[in-house]
C-alpha cells in the first residue's frame, strides 16, 4: 500500500547530501538512509506529520522539494513515484498550477488575455481615463500646460498680423455663442490667442485653456461662421478634457507595450504605442466635432458652415500643399463632412 520514494535530504545546517527513502504512513512522513554504512555519514532518520510539510509546485522537469518547518528539505527527482505518493495523501495542486500545466487551460488564458486587452483598449481605458480626467481639478491640467505657449512662440509661432478689430469681433462673437451652451454643459475657462503660424493654417487647444487660432486659418476660411466652427471644435477638446485623457491613455498603452516588448527594444515598443494611439486621437476629434455640432445647433447656425471647414482643409490637402497639421491623425475630411451634415 505504501510507496517508497528515493530522495535526497538536506538538514538546512550543512550542505551534506543524504540519500534517503521517503514513505508516508498514516499521515506521518518517514525518511531513512538508503545505504546504511556507506561512508562516514551518520544514518538519517526523521518522522514528521505531513501537515507540517510544504510541497513545491509541480513542474515537468525540475526536482520537487518537500520542506520541513525547520528549513530542512527533501529533493525528489522521481516524479512518477512521488505523484503516486501524493495521490495517497490529500495533497492537491492549486488552481494556478493546474492551469499552468494544462495546454487547454493555457490557451483559454491566452484567449482571455487577448479579449481582455481588446476590450480594455476599446472601452475600459477610454472610460476610465474619462472618469479620471474629469475628477482631476482643472488647475492640474493648467500646470501641465504651463509654458507650452511660450515654447510654441519661440519655435513655430509669430505675433499675429490680423487687425485688432477683427480679433475683437471673433472673440466677442464666440463669447455670445458659448453663452447659450453654458446652460447645458458648463464652459471651461478658455482664452483665444491669435498668432501667425510658420506651419500653415492651424488651430489647437492647449491644456492651459488657451485656444491658438492662426492668421492663416482665418484667412483660408474667410468666413466668420466657419471660424466659429473651428473655435467650437477646439473648445470641445477643452470641455471634454481630451488633453488629459489622451495623456492618461497613451501612458497606459505605453506601459502595456513596455511590458510586452520593452525587453526587446525601446523602438519596437513604441511602434504599437503610436499605432494604437491613433484611434484615440480620431475618437477625440469626433467628440470635439460633436461638441461643435451641438454648439451650432444651440445657436441655430447652419451645420453647412461647420462642414465647410473640413471641405476647405480637405481641398488644401488634395491640392498637394502637404497634409495640414490640423488634419494629421484626424479622421478623413470627407468622412467628417458627411458626419456633420448627417448629425441629428
Amino acid at each position: 500500500m505504501t510507496t517508497a520514494v528515493a530522495a535526497f535530504y538536506f538538514d538546512g545546517k550543512t550542505s551534506r547530501r543524504h540519500a534517503v527513502t521517503l514513505e508516508v504512513i498514516d499521515g506521518m512522513a518517514r525518511i531513512y538512509s538508503s545505504h546504511e554504512g556507506v561512508g562516514d555519514a551518520a544514518p538519517v532518520e526523521r518522522v514528521c506529520p505531513i501537515t507540517q510539510l510544504r510541497v513545491s509546485e509541480r513542474l515537468s522537469r525540475a526536482a520537487r522539494k518537500v520542506t520541513y518547518p525547520d528549513g530542512a528539505y527533501l529533493e525528489i527527482q522521481d516524479h512518477a513515484a512521488f505523484a503516486v505518493l501524493l495521490e495517497s495523501t490529500s495533497h492537491r495542486d492549486s488552481l494556478v498550477v493546474r492551469m499552468q500545466q494544462n495546454w487547454r487551460a493555457t490557451l483559454a488564458a491566452a484567449a482571455a488575455l487577448i479579449v481582455l486587452l481588446i476590450v480594455s483598449y476599446l472601452y475600459l481605458l477610454p472610460a476610465a481615463s474619462g472618469v479620471i480626467a474629469r475628477s482631476l481639478p482643472i488647475s492640474v491640467e493648467q500646470r501641465i500646460g504651463d509654458g507650452a505657449l511660450d515654447f510654441l512662440d519661440k519655435h513655430i509661432l509669430a505675433p499675429t498680423t490680423l487687425p485688432s478689430a477683427q480679433r475683437a469681433a471673433i472673440t466677442a462673437r464666440f463669447k455670445t455663442l458659448t453663452a447659450s451652451m453654458d446652460a447645458v454643459e458648463p464652459i471651461p475657462p478658455y482664452e483665444i490667442v491669435f498668432r501667425k503660424s510658420r506651419i500653415g493654417p492651424n488651430a489647437f487647444a492647449l491644456p492651459s485653456g488657451q485656444i491658438v487660432l492662426t492668421d492663416e486659418i482665418v484667412t483660408l476660411l474667410n468666413d466668420d461662421d466657419a471660424v466659429m466652427g473651428v473655435l467650437a471644435h477646439e473648445l470641445g477638446h477643452l470641455q471634454r478634457r481630451h488633453l488629459m485623457r489622451r495623456l492618461i491613455q497613451s501612458s497606459a498603452i505605453g506601459a502595456a507595450a513596455t511590458v510586452l516588448f520593452g525587453d526587446v527594444s525601446a523602438v519596437i515598443a513604441n511602434i504599437p504605442t503610436v499605432l494604437l494611439d491613433m484611434k484615440y486621437s480620431r475618437d477625440v476629434e469626433r467628440e470635439a466635432d460633436d461638441y461643435a455640432i451641438a454648439l451650432f445647433k444651440a445657436n441655430g447656425m447652419s451645420r453647412q458652415k461647420l462642414a465647410y471647414v473640413f471641405e476647405k482643409l480637405g481641398e488644401k490637402e488634395a491640392a498637394g500643399g502637404g497634409v495640414p497639421p490640423y488634419l494629421s491623425s484626424h479622421p478623413a475630411s470627407a468622412e467628417r463632412v458627411e458626419r456633420i451634415l448627417n448629425a441629428q
Binding site: F8, F10, D11, G12, K13, T14, S15, R16, R17, S56, E57, L59, S60, R61, A62, A63, K65, G71, A72, Y73, E75, V96, M99, Q100, Q101, N102, W103, A105, T106, A109, A110, A112, L113, L116, L117, V140, R143, I144, L260, F261, G262, D263, V264, S265, V267, I268
Partner: protein, 369 residues
C-alpha cells in the same frame, strides 16, 4: 549606472546562476557543469497565466507572478545533481512594489508641479538608491538557497554609497572614462560581500582586465560598424563621382541604417557575454572556482533570432526567448571544486527588505553581473 549590460528582459535571476555557488563531491572532484532544464513550452504556460492574472488583478498578482517565475528558473538550475531554490515572499514583494509605485507617481507629479520640488525629489531618490540596492541585494541573496543553505550578503551602507553613488558621479564628471573602473568596483563589492552559508565569495578581477574587456568589446563594435559601411554602404555608392540618386540608392541607404541599428542593438549580448565570462572566471567561493565560457557570436545569434521571433509573434515568443537565452548563459557555467563541498555550514542573518527589491526591479535595475 554601470550595470547596463544585462538584458533588461532577463529575469531577476539573471546571470544564470547568479551568486549561486555550490558544492560537490569529494577529493579529486570533477568539474561540475551547470545545467538548465527549463523549457520554453512549459515556461510559456506559466508566463501566460501570470500575465492574465496580473492584468485581471490590476497588477497585484505580479508579486506572485514574480515568485513563480523565479522559482521556475531556480528549480530548473542544477549543479552537481542539486537544484537551487527561491524563497521570496510575495507579500513582501507586493509591499515593496506598492511603495515604489506611490513614490514614482509622487515623483512624476512633483516635476509637473514645480521644477524645484521635482529636482529635490530627484536628489532624494539618488541619495536613497544605493541604500535600496544594498537592501535589495540582501533580500535577493537571502532568498536564494542551495542544498538547504541560504546565500547572504554582508556589505554595509558605506560600501554601497561608495560604489553606487560616489563612483558613478565621479564617472559622470570624467566623461565616463572611469566606467570600467567603477564597474570593477561594483562587482568587487557585490562578489566579495556575498556569501554562501558561512563561506565567502571572493573576487580578483583587476581594473586592468575590465578596461581590456571594454576595449575588446568596443573594438568588435567598431570593426562590425566599419564592415557594414564597407560592404552594404559601398554598394549604395559604387563609384565616387556618380551623382545620380536612384531608388536603388535609397534602398541601400535604408539597409545601411537598419544594419547599423541591428548591430548596435547586438552590443548588448556582446557585452553581456564578455562581462559574464570576465566576472565569473574571477570569482571564487572559498577555494572553489567557477568558469564561464560563453561565446559572443553564439549569444548574439540567440539575441538576434529571439528579437525576430518576438516581433513576428507580437510578443508571444517572449517566454521561449527568455528560456533560450537563460539556458545558454547557465549552461556555459561550470564549477571547479577544490575539494569536498559537503562541509558548508549555514549562517543566521537577517533577510533584507523587499522594499529595495521592489524598487530596483520596477526601475529595471538588474544587479546580476
Amino acid at each position: 549606472m554601470s550595470d547596463t549590460f544585462d538584458q533588461p528582459g532577463q529575469p531577476d535571476f539573471p546571470a544564470g546562476p547568479n551568486f549561486s555557488a555550490p558544492p560537490v563531491q569529494p577529493a579529486p572532484a570533477p568539474v561540475e557543469a551547470f545545467s538548465f532544464s527549463g523549457r520554453g513550452s512549459e515556461y510559456f504556460r506559466i508566463w501566460i497565466v501570470n500575465l492574465l492574472l496580473s492584468v485581471v488583478t490590476l497588477g497585484i498578482y505580479s508579486a506572485w507572478a514574480k515568485v513563480r517565475r523565479l522559482r521556475y528558473f531556480y528549480d530548473n538550475t542544477t549543479v552537481a545533481g542539486t537544484s537551487f531554490e527561491y524563497h521570496g515572499n510575495p507579500m513582501a514583494i507586493l509591499k515593496g512594489r506598492i511603495i515604489t509605485v506611490v513614490l514614482l507617481f509622487g515623483y512624476q507629479f512633483a516635476f509637473k508641479l514645480n521644477a524645484l520640488i521635482g529636482l529635490l525629489v530627484l536628489i532624494a531618490f539618488m541619495v536613497a538608491m544605493p541604500w535600496l540596492i544594498w537592501r535589495s541585494l540582501q533580500f535577493k541573496l537571502y532568498n536564494t538557497s542551495y542544498r538547504g543553505i541560504r546565500f547572504g550578503f554582508r556589505g554595509n551602507a558605506a560600501g554601497a554609497y561608495k560604489v553606487y553613488l560616489w563612483l558613478p558621479l565621479l564617472t559622470f564628471f570624467t566623461l565616463y572614462l572611469l566606467t570600467p573602473f567603477t564597474h570593477q568596483r561594483i562587482k568587487r563589492f557585490q562578489h566579495t560581500e556575498s556569501r554562501f552559508g558561512a563561506s565567502h565569495f571572493s573576487f580578483n578581477g583587476s581594473v586592468g582586465a575590465f578596461y581590456k574587456t571594454y576595449l575588446i568589446g568596443f573594438g568588435i563594435y567598431l570593426a562590425g560598424f566599419v564592415a557594414i559601411l564597407l560592404t552594404i554602404g559601398a554598394s549604395a555608392y559604387p563609384f565616387v563621382g556618380d551623382q545620380s540618386f536612384g531608388a536603388g540608392h535609397v534602398f541601400s541607404f535604408v539597409l545601411v541604417i537598419l544594419a547599423l541599428y541591428a548591430w548596435t542593438f547586438l552590443m548588448y549580448p556582446l557585452f553581456l557575454t564578455l562581462m559574464q565570462n570576465l566576472i565569473w572566471n574571477h570569482t571564487k567561493l572559498g577555494e572553489h572556482g567557477f568558469r564561464s565560457e560563453m561565446r559572443w557570436s553564439r549569444m548574439m545569434f540567440i539575441a538576434f533570432t529571439n528579437i525576430i521571433g518576438i516581433v513576428c509573434t507580437l510578443g508571444l515568443y517572449t517566454p521561449f526567448a527568455q528560456i533560450r537565452a537563460l539556458r545558454y548563459r547557465v549552461e556555459s557555467m561550470s564549477l571547479h571544486p577544490a575539494g569536498s563541498m559537503d562541509d558548508f555550514i549555514a549562517d543566521n542573518e537577517p533577510s533584507g527588505s523587499a522594499m529595495g527589491e521592489g524598487m530596483t526591479d520596477l526601475l529595471d535595475f538588474d544587479l546580476s553581473l
